[in-house]
């Protein structure tokens, strides 16, 4: 949105409106600068930039721990991503089944797991089944919850393919499996991918729940470093691990945007120009 063109909220600005916008921009910039300055000065007043608090990051052991934590996060994420996609496909197929009992069971399962807090499920799994292996409690919990969400994304994607496509295929004598694998899935997958990857970002963020069940992922490692170093450098640790989380999530959502823009190049351009 360019301030020189009309948007749904604002008309094209005239000379006076442009002056007003510039004034508001200057005031806004001043306010934001003041906010940033306030944050930085508060942190330094409390001595959070003292070299003493940051010393622990110089040790190789600490750096290795952070790396291990990030890898543990990625490992749990990778396993959960595969698990949730497999479960998502299974649940989606079940919900689209022609057999009413299968459909009913899958619908109930999907709705139940979508409505439950992930933490409650992970903790129940941790306390009841995987007492010694918190990672599997995390991975199974994440897979089941996100699998249910992915199932809904896949199902609605397949349902969004124009009905005539399936009808035409059935009229040509294709079987249901053929209609699915040859027509509906290939056509819908491109539209679904951004939503699926968006949910994968949620999966990645939710691996931090492992902190609560003592799985040594990034946040847990951060807590360990902060509470075992001289001067309890909680703030320096947070200033280090937060960007790591944000970078990992942004990399994934960047992938989603890239795929979306690739999809836009294709022949299937119906309707997108309306926006």
């Amino acid at each position: 949105m360019n301030s020189r063109s009309a948007s749904v909220l604002y008309d094209v600005p005239g000379p006076r409106a442009r002056l007003r916008y510039r004034l508001a921009g200057a005031l806004g910039a001043l306010g934001i600068a003041a906010l940033l300055w306030w944050i930085v000065s508060t942190l330094s007043d409390k001595g959070q930039f003292d070299a003493r608090l940051w010393e622990s990051f110089e040790y190789n052991a600490v750096q290795q721990r952070i790396l291990d934590g990030a890898l543990a996060t990625l490992k749990a994420f990778g396993l959960a991503a595969v698990g949730s996609l497999v479960l998502g496909v299974l649940f989606a197929v079940g919900r689209l089944s022609d057999h009413r009992p299968v459909r009913a069971v899958c619908t109930a399962v999907v709705q139940f797991f979508r409505a439950m807090p992930l933490l409650i499920m992970i903790f129940a799994l941790y306390a009841a089944v995987f007492t010694a292996e918190p990672m599997w409690a995390l991975v199974v919990g994440l897979s089941v919850y996100n699998g249910a969400v992915q199932a809904e994304i896949i199902r609605s994607g397949i349902n969004a393919v124009p009905r005539g496509q399936g009808e035409a295929a059935y009229a040509l004598g294709l079987r249901k499996t053929q209609v699915m694998t040859l027509l509906l899935v290939p056509q819908s997958v491109r539209a679904m991918l951004p939503a699926i990857i968006g949910q994968l970002v949620v999966t990645l963020k939710d691996t931090s729940l492992g902190y609560i069940i003592t799985y040594p992922e990034l946040l847990f490692v951060g807590k360990w470093i902060a509470s075992n170093s001289d001067g309890y450098p909680y703030i320096p640790v947070l200033l280090v691990i937060t960007p790591i989380y944000i970078a990992m999530c942004l990399a994934l959502s960047g992938l989603a945007r890239w795929i979306e823009s690739r999809g836009r190049r294709g022949a299937n351009r119906r309707g997108a120009a309306a926006a």
């Binding site: 009309a6 909220l9 933490l119």
Partner: protein, 216 residues
Amino acid sequence: MGILFEKDNFSLFVRGFVGTIELSALSALFALLLGIMLAAFRVSPVPVLRAFGTAWVTVFRNTPLTLLFFVVTFMLPRLDVHISSFTAAVAALSVYTGSFVCEVLRAGINTVPLGQAEAARSLGMGFGQTLGLVVLPQAGRAVIAPLGSVFIALPRNSAVAGAFNVFELFSVQKTWSEDSYPIFASFFWLALAYLAIGFSISSVLSLLERRMAVAR
């Protein structure tokens, strides 16, 4: 399944239930206010404010909720800011949810066709009239369903607060687990509680959606 009626488990459960409701309701209110403010920034004609809104939303949508709880629990005391765990939890949940609310509102405003606003302006309506009579009523309808899923997710997310010293339903699960009650019995009652909360929110929303629906 009978564990709910042993000892004083029932009052514990009720306290947890009320804790979850209070936490979710307050966070929903503040998240809505924050979301409206951020959305106003993101659609404003002032580039600096837009950039600020975008940066804020990018940071907080890509930060795990557990990390935000970690920040309010461990970082604020180091800065000599001492607030109760409940206030801290409301802050973490509102900041997290607020950026999702902002994105929903912004998408809603963008669904209104430009022609609607052009028609309103050519009829001589001012900014307030265009916004209040033409744009917002249409955006509001487009926004209800996605906003609903954000607010249905809120009570579920609030469970994380239980791990950071706030008493709510997850704390009930922890307490029962420490008292070595069968975990699936406690899971059953908690599932019931969360399903009840989720169901009541979604029925209110579908009522709202039906009331606001117009024939197109």
